[in-house]
């Protein structure tokens, strides 16, 4: 397994927010995390990249328990794109993406060709190379999101954690980013709200509800009308798309 989470609990104050979660992702696969607002998706992602300490349970990257990994070793293999992260500093797109090289450089080692290549490739992947010198605070919401993703790619991770990466993106870029992530030879865990996009791109899905996994497995097994009614409180009609052969979900208003 590339990432395995077993029986993990995490609480803030007295409320259990991650309430005994176990999930696994095989190398190179893409796991979609679904669930209503406040179900614990962001919290789980923070636990997996070591930003928060689990109260109990084990999180492993490859074969190593992350509590035994130094911060820097985690950063060399896991990249994380937060749901919202912004800055008041006058940084350019290039400055922001270059930050992704931080874990691969010593405090005094100079910038080198590998760093340059990684940054340029990352900018190309998200289509922001020609905007490299634009200032962060002049970017649109979707452009900022793409820059964050480029920073994560410049980190050259084995595991990529994305918290709602399609947020703010127009439909073309939503499709582009998710097919890019699906294509990359990395293991990825992606929190998503759009069930159709999840069904189209993810290899497996896990649905969270009140800090627990209520369904996990292949998209066609997980996405059922009953589950959507139970978890999201919405009536849905699901069919197999004649076009891409994945699940297609339509919502009913009556």
């Amino acid at each position: 397994m590339s990432v395995s989470v077993s029986d993990v609990y995490w609480s803030a104050g007295n409320t259990m927010i991650v309430n005994g979660i176990s999930i696994e992702v095989s190398p190179g696969k893409m796991l979609g995390l679904l669930g209503p607002n406040g179900s614990g998706k962001s919290s789980l992602l923070r636990l997996i990249c070591g930003l928060r300490k689990a109260r109990s349970g084990v999180i492993a990257l490859g074969d190593t328990d992350i509590t035994r990994m130094p911060r820097l070793d985690i950063a060399r293999r896991v990249a994380f794109v937060e749901q919202q992260a912004t800055t008041e500093m006058q940084v350019t797109v290039l400055d922001a993406v270059r930050l992704g090289r931080t874990p691969h450089r010593g405090p005094l080692s100079p910038w080198n060709l590998v760093d340059d290549a990684a940054v340029n490739a990352a900018l190309d992947h998200v289509g922001m190379r020609d905007r490299a010198h634009q200032l962060w605070h002049t970017l649109s919401g979707g452009e900022r999101q793409r820059v964050h993703i480029a920073r994560a790619l410049a980190q050259m991770p084995k595991e990529l954690l994305l918290d709602e990466p399609t947020n703010h993106l127009d439909i073309q870029h939503q499709l582009e980013i998710l097919s890019l992530v699906a294509r990359l030879p990395v293991t990825s865990i992606v929190a998503l709200h759009d069930l159709n996009l999840a069904a189209m791109f993810c290899d497996t899905l896990a649905v969270l509800h009140r800090g627990k996994v209520v369904a996990a497995g292949a998209p066609e097994d997980v996405l059922t009308e009953e589950l959507i009614a139970d978890v999201f409180g919405v009536r849905a009609f699901i069919e197999c798309s004649a076009h891409h052969r994945r699940r297609h979900i339509q919502y009913r208003l009556d």
């Binding site: 990249c49 911060r71 950063a75 800055t87 008041e88 922001a96 930050l99 874990p103 405090p107 200032l135």
Partner: protein, 350 residues
């Protein structure tokens, strides 16, 4: 791409531009220090200054009057080097605090760290726990740390967030200034009180070599610590979680850097009093020249800070004939309008 969208950085990616910047700031600092040594009630030609310095440093034996030798070496040169050290240290402290707290208005004076250091120094000076340079700065260091911890706790209690720390700093400054006044009015005699009040406004009078021997190494060590963490400071651009996910040991880095900031502030306050706005304005000026990357920003801050402070000292001595203005008054006269400008530019779009 339109100009308005691109980065307003004067020095770009050209190595020769950086080299020229480094050379010109070093030359300018050297020139300002020579000027500071030559200008005064008794004006001394630059050549005499050079001879006096050569006599002391390289054991040269130029014929000079004892008075000139004494004024250059014992009074003016030590004073100019103290000003340079304080300017560099305060500008570095501002740059570090702005990066770690992610707030463009952060600096030791605004956050009440200088006020805390003053209280600590005054407590030692007047309540007297053994008088001397080192104990004075130790008192200032303890005061600075207490002030920072208190202000941080107040900001966290008020809901955290980048804006809160400034409000908490205002409250902290008021509290520590009140404490200082309390100590002075209840325990000091008239002569002590006058001396303390003058020193509190920021004053370079009475600076001796022993002060420089304390301040210059502290500024240098602070600079080296900050430079070693330049990449870590960059990594804080998008917040603490972003820094941590880039592999930065955020707690260790924050403790080391905030400690270095408190040390630099305390050392400078214990000698020259609390001087405002240098730590705020210089980092912004430096960012305008070299951009936000700390590898270039920190040395630029140190150099511009030093140059600015030596220049402010010259102004404080010549602006009113026969009288020396406290240097804090001069930096505030320049700094307050600059503060307003930064405040205006930092406002969020509606």
């Amino acid at each position: 791409m339109s100009l308005a969208l691109s980065q307003p950085v004067l020095i770009g990616r050209w190595w020769w531009a950086r080299l020229a910047l480094a050379a010109s700031t070093i030359l300018l600092l050297g020139f300002m220090i020579s000027l500071a040594v030559s200008i005064g009630e008794i004006s001394i030609p630059l050549a005499t200054t050079a001879k006096a310095v050569a006599n002391r440093l390289f054991g040269a034996s130029f014929e000079l009057s004892r008075i000139h030798q004494g004024i250059v070496w014992d009074y003016r040169l030590s004073r100019a080097l103290m000003a340079a050290s304080a300017g560099a240290a305060l500008a570095l402290s501002g740059a570090i605090l702005q990066a770690l707290l992610r707030n463009p208005l952060a600096e030791p004076y605004v956050l009440g760290i200088s006020a805390g250091a003053s209280t600590g120094a005054v407590a030692v000076m007047i309540l007297g726990f053994g008088y001397g340079v080192l104990t004075l700065s130790t008192g200032a260091f303890i005061g600075a740390i207490i002030a920072f911890v208190l202000v941080s706790a107040l900001a966290a209690g008020a809901g955290g967030g980048a804006d809160r720390i400034i409000l908490a700093g205002v409250a902290g400054s008021q509290l520590f200034n009140a404490l200082t006044s309390y100590i002075v009015t209840t325990s000091a005699n008239a002569e002590q009180a006058r001396g303390v009040m003058f020193w509190l406004l920021g004053s370079l009078s009475g600076v001796r070599w022993t002060d420089v021997y304390l301040a210059a190494p502290v500024a240098l060590v602070g600079f080296l610590i900050a430079m070693f963490h330049a990449r870590a400071l960059d990594a804080f651009t998008f917040g603490i979680d972003a820094a941590a996910s880039l592999g930065i040991a955020v707690n260790r880095v924050r403790i080391v850097l905030l400690g270095a900031t408190a040390l630099m502030t305390a050392a400078m306050v214990s000698v020259v009093g609390s001087i405002g706005f240098v730590g705020l304005v210089i980092p912004h000026a430096a960012r305008f020249i070299v951009g936000p990357g700390h590898g270039r920003l920190l040395p630029t801050c140190a150099m511009i800070g030093a140059i600015f402070m030596v220049a402010a000292d010259i102004v404080s001595r010549v602006i009113i004939p026969q009288q020396i203005l406290p240097i804090g008054v001069v930096t505030a006269l320049f700094g307050a309008p600059a503060f307003a400008l930064i405040l205006y530019k930092a406002r969020r779009p509606a």
